[in-house]
Each structure stands twice: as structure tokens, then as C-alpha cells.
Amino acid sequence: MAAINLNVNGKTVSVDVDPATPLLWVLRDHLNLVGTKFGCGIAQCGACTVHLNGSAVRSCSLPVSSVKNNAIVTIEGLSETGDHPLQQAWEELDVSQCGYCQAGQIMSAAALLKRNPKPTDQDIDNAMSGNICRCGTHVRIRKAIHSAAKTQSKN
């Protein structure tokens, strides 16, 4: 065990954990941020996607010791009141079925929009193909990303 300081959703927190613990389980079990989901544990499904300094990373495959003081943002910290344009578009277009993959999908999409405010279908294919949605909401996810991009460009 080791005391590790983390910067999560704008706050500094301290946890006492095995340094090899994947960030995912630190978030879920030690910080009670359970919005980040477990799907595969080997960086194949994207359910555990969070932002590390603004980029999408798979928290299941990131040992907590390697995070250092890089800023982590989880779905809980993506916006104050759940009104990020992507969150709004997701609700508006009723994207979810079971909903389990969607936090990861939104985090991947948010990182995409940050570096590419007007993604093409091809850009979406590239950025979102690391996230599995077993329920098959892909068509709506694509629409929601385009729609959020539009909202963002208006603001």
C-alpha cells in the first residue's frame, strides 16, 4: 500500500492503495465514483474511459501510480449539472438502451470534440471504435455527436 495523491474532477484527493491498482478500481472502490464502468479490463471496450489531461484513456489499464499529478476527469466531473452539449444531445436523442456503456462513450466523444470541434463521420469512426456498445446504439451515438458539435459551434 502507498499513499497516492490524485487530481480528480478538479479536487486533490488522497488514497492509500496498492500502487499497481488500475485507476478504474481506485475511482470506483476508493473514491466512490462509480460512473466509470468496468467492461473488459484490457483496454478493449472503452466502458472505463476517463480523461487524463483532456485525452481519453482506458482507466482499467492505467496503474494508479502512473497517473501522478495529471488531471483526471470522470463522467461525474464532465460538467457541473450534466449539461455538457454531449450529455444534452444524448438525452435529447434518447441514445441509451441499457446505458452501461454510455459514460465511456460520452467521455470518448468529449475528448474528440475538444480536439476536433467538427468531426466527420470518418473522425467519429476513428475516435469511437474503441468503445463497444453491446446494445447497438451506434446510429444514435453518431447523431448525438454531430448534434453536440453543432450546439457547441453556436455557443
Binding site: M1, V17, D18, T21, P22, W25, R28, D29, H30, N32, L33, V34, G35, T36, K37, F38, G39, C40, G41, I42, Q44, C45, A47, T74, I75, E76, G82, L86, Q87, W90, E91, D94, S96, Q97, C98, G99, Y100, C101, Q102, A103, I106, D121, I124, D125, N126, M128, S129, G130, N131, I132, C133, R134, C135, G136, T137, H138, V139, R140, I141, R142
Partner: protein
Amino acid sequence: MATTHSRRNFLKVSALSGGGMLISFSLFNLPAEAKALDDMIFTPNAYIKITADGTIVLFAPNPEIGQGVKTSLPMIIAEELGVDWKKIKVELAALDKRMGRQTAGGSGSVRGRFTELRTVGATAREMLTTAAAQQWNVPVTECTVENGEVIHKASGKKLSYATLASAAAKLEVPEKPTLKDPKDFKLIGTRVKDVDAHHIVTGKPLFGIDTRKEGMLFAMVSRAPAYGKTLGEVNDAAALKIEGVKKVVKIKNAVAVLATSTWAAKKGRDALVIQWNANEKLENSAEHFEMFKKALEKPAPTEPTRNDGDVEAAKNGAAKVLDVTYEIPTLSHGQMEPLNFFANVKDGKVELFGPTQVPGAVRAEISKLLGIAEENISISSPRQGGGFGRKLMTDNGVEAALISAEAQCPVQVQWTREDDMQNDFYRPAEMWRYRAALSSDQLLSWHQSGIGIGRGVRGDSYVAGALTNYRAEGQGFTSNTPTGWWRAPGANTLAYVAESFMDEVCTALKKDPVAFRLELFKKAKEQTVGKINYDPEKYKSVVELVAKMSKWGTKTPGVFRGFSTWFSFGSYVAQVVDVHMLDGQPKVKKVYCAVNCGRVINLSGAENQVQGSIVDGISHAMFPKVTFVNGAVAETNFNTYKFLRMKDAPTEIDVQFVESDEAPSGLGEPALPPLAAALANAIFAATGKRLRKMPFAEQLA
């Protein structure tokens, strides 16, 4: 709590202690009978809670696994009740003996409960209206309801349901409440967002995996690494040394490690040294298919499920005989949320919480195994990260209860993806042989013969009834690899082989696939051979609609089309798949889908189900397969057990529903079965390659 019972015990209305009313509805409100009803199909129930503070809670009685019933079932109640949808709260109901079939399976939630839930809403509405009329001293007939208020137009008086709730609870329950004229439906048939939409996109704890309870330990379980192996000696010394690990317990054929965190439990589990003994044959998929092939070369040893005319005699004088074999792999469910379950067995009582499609069966089994009466076992389910049939099995819940009983503490058992892959109840591998005799322009006979792991294949298709000579036969194959239900069981494989073969027949006869199906439906209707279990007119309705939607018969350069249609769970679906070639590989561009499923409750949810089924249809046809190697599953995670990715998904899926006033039929599954054949047929059009083996991607590589 004062309760009023109607004479027939149809309905129970209770005055809540804080003021308000609780309505539960049951055809058989007697506890003794209700016990036996848990597993009965079509036993209705639901409830409404109206409290004096104005809160209206509608309880969704069936498990929510992504099929949308937490939204669509309460919509039915709300429609009749006359409340403002935006102001009500929805909760998933716990397992309740008065609530009938609380199962998610067979696309049965909405179709089983439509009329009953309308009656529930209408009953409450009538009682509230009566309460208001009495208070105002006006005839009930002069009162109407809107947005949770009773209104007396003439006097301009209004009272909210909340105000009326206590008075209403004291009234006699109407025996036959008047249901709304469907023409006046305001909510049913509209687009309503999932009730949990906001919680989902903000990452609120909604799922079983998010369960955190006082004193609970996390558990990971070491289960047999291969089918046919059993638990031998266990050395847990190293596991117990891991920081955070608290206990190691043995149950049945498994060992559980309990710890203060998921990661510690996993490390502990990985540190166990276990001797697994092979006491049975360790099976291989390759051998399964070899056995299938041999079996299909001989006449089927079983009685045919259907045998019209004489398929052998029909070959005499045929211009052409087709004889082909299709091969379908074993599949795992791969629902996104790996299995988990919370259990707390304490002082002769059990608390259970976790993902299951069959809470009643989980409770019954635990009751038997632990010798604890069912009334001392409470069980409820959170929203679930997918089902696909996996949780029609009770193993995850039962295992958690056994661990808690053994370890004597509350426990949250967490599975890894590898655990899910190796410990599933798989969609069984199958092989099908199809034979047809053709004249120069007619299909003379159809002979399908299938074999599959487990109880084997069965069922027939719509060609039966339209042909003089038709034979269907199926057989099972005994194996120690477990089988179960996988979305649209039976239909998902049969539709693929039957509708692909139908396309082969059309190609051989040089017939248009749509026109040829319509010809068959006409024959099935006008000159029916034997009995049919489908309605040729409804088949026709979807085939014609999808032909219109897709402008069937027109050609777009670079686009290749496939067609297929199937009937399952009471609903009819026809699909056109458009593919184009991208870097030498076929890619689905667009899918058109026509559905006849009776009345649609939630248009947004219904479309989402159909779109999802189509994506699932493409995904399972193209990518995944489970291979048993010496009893172990070779594909251990999503790197080798593959699903469709965004880049493989169609950019557009056009869905239309045939207008219908009939009661709703199934929708969570019926759009999946036809897809694989429509896709295979489109790929044939694009490449000339007939895909008789799944997964397609391997065949195309």
C-alpha cells in the same frame, strides 16, 4: 394502514399512513395462489403510489435490461391514469408475489401486460374521479381528468390527485373500469425518453456493479477453467497474504476470495493454487462440427417436426436439386456489464440485489439450497447492463447467496470478462443441411435438417404452408458445454439459414426475392398446406412496406442489396440491407426495416430496440465465435471475442412500423433474426460469395 378490498379481490387499495393511496392489482390476490403464479405467463400486476405531497410513483414490474420497459410499462399506466408524464416518478418494483410474471424474456413484458396495466391506470382514475365528484356533489359523468387533476368543466373546479388520494382510497374498487378509447391516447405511440436518461449520462449509480452496502466485502471467484473439470485441492496461503483479503471460502465447484476492494479480491483470487481435475471428457468445437457433419449425412434419427407431402419423391423429375450445409458457431452473450450480485444471508433471512432476468427463479433456488423460506428472502434488481438471455440463468445470484452464507457477511460478487466468457450458457453451435427440388421456374420441395448442441434445433419457417412438399427435422447433441438462451433463441439461427437458403432458391430460379416471397405468402393464404402458425397478410404488410421504403427494384451504382423477412415473438419484420465495397470488403451502409408489432407504446424506445437488434444482427453475423479447446473457451475477452465497432456500423437505419390497432406484440428480439440473412444475401450480391458459415468476417478475410 386501512385497506379496501373489492368483492372479487381484484384490486387492493391501501391508504398510506401519511395520506394517499397505493394501488396494486392482481387477478389472483390470494397469497397462496400467488406463490405459484410467479412463473406463470400472462399474469398481470402493477402498482401506483400517490402520496398526499403530490408525488406519483409508478412501479415498473419487469426487469430493465436495456429493452426499455422501465419507461414503456409505466407509460401504459400513465396513459389511463391521466397524469403529466414529466411529473411522475418511476421505480423498478421488487419481486412481489402479487405481481405475476416478473421476468425479462421472450419479448413478453409489454405484450403480456398491456391490457392489465391499462386497467390498473383506469381503476385509479375512476376512483379519483368519483372522490372528486362526491366532494363537489356533481355527477361523475361531468368530471374529466387531465395532468393529474380532476376537472369539473361547468363550475371550473379542479382538484389534484394528491388532494383526492386519501378519499379515493376509501372507495369501493370499480369492477370494470372504462378504458380509454385508443383514439384518445396522448402518451402511447409518442416519443418518450428513457426515464433514466439523465442519470445515465451523468454517471449515477444505477447498476448492480455500483452496489455498496454497509459491511460488504468484494468477492472474486475461481471457477473451473474448463468444462469437465472439478475442484481438487486448494491452497489459499498466498491469497490470504494479499493485503485487503479477508476470507477464502469454498462453495460447490468454486473458491471465493473476499476482500475490501475489487482489486484485492482479484489479486487474491489469482494467487490461489488450485488443483482442477478432469473427470469428464474435455470437448472441442472442431469435434462438435465433425459429429454434426456425420450426423447430417445420414437420415435424421428423430421424427420430423413437420412432414408435408414427400420431399424425396419431389426430386424425381426436378430440373435441379440444391443441397447445401450451413454452420453456426457457439456464442457467448457478452452483455456489457460483467455479472455481479449482492447477497446478505443473515439470521435466517436473505437480502438479494443484482442483475437477473428471473428474480423469482433466483429466489426459489436459493430458498431450496439454503433451506430458508421464500418469504424471508427479498430480492430486487437494479437497472441492468444488458441481458441478451444470459440472466435467464440463476447462477450469478445463487452463487452470491452461497458465498454470503458460507462467509457469513454481506458480499458483492464481481465477475471479470474472462469469468463471463468461460462461465456462460452459450448459444449452441449448430449445423443445418438444406435441400430443395426445383423445376425450371418453381420450388417443388423444401427439406431442412438441423443439429445443435444440447436439446437441439427445431421449428419451421413460412415456407411451410405454402409448399406441397416440406420437411423439417432437428436433433440434439449431448455435450458437457452448457447451453442457454441467446437473444431471439431458435429464431436467430433458423432465420439465417432459412432466409439465406431462400435467396439461393431465388437465385437458382432467377426470381426476384421480394416478389417470390409475396408469391409464397399468397399461396400460404389461399391454398394453405396443413396448419400455419403465422399470418401471411402480416408478412405481406412488412414485405411491401420495406420494398416501398427501400425503393426495391431500383439500382444505385456501387450499392448491393439483400432482403430477408422473419416472424418471431408475435411480430413480423422485413429488412433490406445495402452494402458497398470498401477496401475490397463489404460494409453495411444502410438498413431499411419494416415492423408489424401491433400498437407501438414508446416510439423512441421501439425504434431504438429495432436499430439495436439490427446492429446486434450485423455484429453477431460478422464477428464473434466461441471455440472450445479441451473444454476451455479460447476467446477469453473482447480482443478475440469480437463485436461490431463504430466503423462497422451502418450510418443509417430506417425503421417504420405498420400502423396497427392490435395489442402490442414482442419487440426486444424480432428485428434481430432476419438481419444475418439479409446481410449474407447482400454480400452475395456484392461479391458472388455465398456465406454459409458464421462469423462472416472470417469467411471474407
